[in-house]
Amino acid sequence: MAKAAKKIKVIEQVRYSCALAALHSVLAIDRAVPILHAGPGCGQRLSTALSTTNGYQGTGYAGGHAMPCTNSTEAEVIFGGEKKLKELITHSLEVMDADLYVVLTGCTADIVGDDSTEVARGFQKQGKPVVCAQTGGFSGNNFVGHELILGAIIDQYLQPSEEIEPGLVNVFSIVPYYDAFWTGNLEEIRKLLEAIGLKANIIFGPGGGVNALNKIPKAQFNLLLSPWIGLTNVQQLEEKFKTPYLHYPVLPIGPTETSKFLRAIGKYAGLPSEQVEASIAELEKPYDYYIERSADYLLQARVGLPSRFITISDSFYALGISKFLVNDLGLLPGTQFIIDNIPAKYQADLEKEFKDLSPTISAPVVFTNDSGTIREKLRETKFRGKPLILGSAWDQMIAKELNGYQLSVSFPVADRFILNSTYIGYNGALRLAEDIFSVLVSSNY
């Protein structure tokens, strides 16, 4: 199904960033402060990209120029920067008010070969809440970086717990900041889990923080809600604390997938099925109300409806959105472009999901991180009617060229201002429908 596009190794238009960009996963932990051992430009550039130009999320408690950074220059490159890092951490502990300090390395420190983890360990030995993740930008993208940071926290900070709290679930899912809707999305996951009677332990965003981190070892199980990002973390937790995990790869958007997801998780958690079914029935009601209301429009506006929808997004969003649009709204998919450099070993599973979007509908998948490749594929495609492009702000241009509709849902969401919107669950599906069809009704088809 997936066509191997000519293997292009360079990247036109940035749709993800480097491992160090996952410093945002630290910023997403309430009262955690990143300490960068990196070049002088990394911090600014990455916060511009992942917070400013992606939904205008802002610097938060200690982001942007507040982040301590060695700003490594020639001296650190030639002589090594461990001494400077040590000095910076010492002063960061005095100056920055935080519960957790996460040292992250950039390209310079890692190429030069500083043993930053060892420097951090020195502080751990003194009982300071300092951990270190080696996130040199060349070592991978921000998804890998996100795993590295969580991995460092699990490995260097978390302590085993005596008791297990029944019903407590750690949620590993959305990548903070990279997903411009991360706060709303995580909150919606919390609501869904709580609706069926579980206690969601969510690390990122308001209400999480070090308290949530400290609760991780107490959980009944870990939920990995994501095709691949975070898998190493739940495996690591299984090894360290014997906590079992459920890997659920589909982002639940809309009633079909969300109800399926809740049943799966209810079963895994050992909840009585009547309890879960009763909750689902309640949760579906408002969705059904609004969808009945929108049906007039969806039926009568056929002529302006998109002929095919294209997603240009990370594997998680692409799959969730496609399932919703196919199974709940009756739209038809065109090619789905998966841009997150998903490791080869997970690609087959994902392709299978797209092959079986519904019993009768499948979608072709192209794995690429290069917009030039995407553009060429789309130019080759013959569309009857207007396509709907669900991608990033970059894609306004190709949508225009194809005379299609466009909505930015994926990094960089540079043309929208996002606060607490969510696309997850029943509510999120309504929101996504609002956003998509607002694009339609505001254009003159």
């Binding site: 070049g39 600014q44 916060s47 408690y61 942007g64 301590p68 090594g80 241009m397």
Partner: protein, 500 residues
Amino acid sequence: MSINLTTPEAQIRENRLSSITGYKGSIKDLATQAGGCSLKSGERGFTQTTACSLGCAQGQLVLIKDAAVVGHSAIGCGSDTIQSNINNRRGQFSRELEYTNINYINTNMTEEATVFGGAAKLREGIREAYRRFNPKVIFVTTSCVSGIIGENISGILEGLAEEIPVPLVPVHCEGFRSKLWASGFDAAFHAILTYIVKPAEKKNPNLINIINFSGIGRKEVVRLLGRLGLVPQFLVQFTTVDQLSKISEAAATLSFCGTLGSYLASGLEEHFGVPYIKSLQPHGIAGINSWLRELGKVLGREEEVEKLIEEETAAIASELEELREKLNGKRVVIGMGPSFSQNYTRLLQELALEVVWAASWHFDQRHDYGEIPATILDLAKNEKDIPACVSELQVHEINNLLRQLKPDLFVCRHPGMAIWSAKLGIPTIFINDEYQSFGYQGLINFGNRVADTLANPTFVQYLASKIKLPYTNWWLEQDAFTFLGEAPPKKKERITKAVV
């Protein structure tokens, strides 16, 4: 001081202009010490993330209309091109141009490239850039990774010269090389001066180069210079390569920002005979007067200029008086790049505001034509001295400074700064557009913006009442410059790490 166009790269500002990033003192002291050898940069024991050359270089080059940029780096270093694309759109909107995305390709250097080199990827990036964008020139920006592994950029580009029929231009802007991100402007302009600009075939006596950023507010410049029969051309963003190749035809170069323009304007003067107008920058009345008068002197149009100045000044006189009454004595702190900081210090005083502190993110002791910046000398002539610091985007310093000074207003420039004063409940003006206060009418517009900002501070007050700064109480009680030490004596350290 001279611009050397025979070397592959521009010297960094530390070495070329003796620029500094750490200092506390006053305007008069800065002006007195500048240019000599006595002013040394202080080092800090605690630093927050700053910015780098690559961002400044790339930000200029990707907005040249028919050029392409290949960023030879790991993918993260390409991240701020997203912001460049927003700038691109704003510029296209204001010029009523069709909207396009920028022409940028990143070579995505990964682990493998750090071990075996990234030549193959760079070649692919250049070939793809040529195939996809059909550009007139391809700039290759370097990065920390390509710099540390010692990639032979020039060699790779030379190897492709036969195959790719447009100039392949290296831009040396590795982030770790300089603490002054403005060195990145110089790197970009060095590339333009060495590879793009051609000697003038014939001079155009009415054409004036204006070095600016995105040029959103350029209409007023067109109007003012138009009154002198002059035609401005705005550099370098949104120009074409062909236009750039002919900027040597201009009768003079003006700059909106001494920090930005120093290298390109001096290079044009020294190597292409285009005089650089070494005036104050055109913010506020004294600034615009100086800008126009110096231009008039060079072009021999003093009389027209005097007439223009007289009319334009008269046109705003009553409004300016009203504003001065309204704003009289309000206390302001400034935090911007050096040229903007110095020019706004003067401008805010024209509005009868009291500048109680002038912070700049760095300080150039000289400009490329060898003199101390005119703006600082001008400020130093004032009877009253103003406390000043050089603060390299160190928001921990700025936060403590503002807490201590409690000004009525903070006026700043550089993305990511405004929030930190606002969190203290201090009304804040962020200067995004370089034309914000251009010339006569601009001063009035800006004055009104100040009045409006002071008129309703509820937003920042609410922020301050709810939001905690990320600092410990210990730090908040310290002097703002606790971590700013004296410049350390140059130590000979043992090489402990081999560079790959």
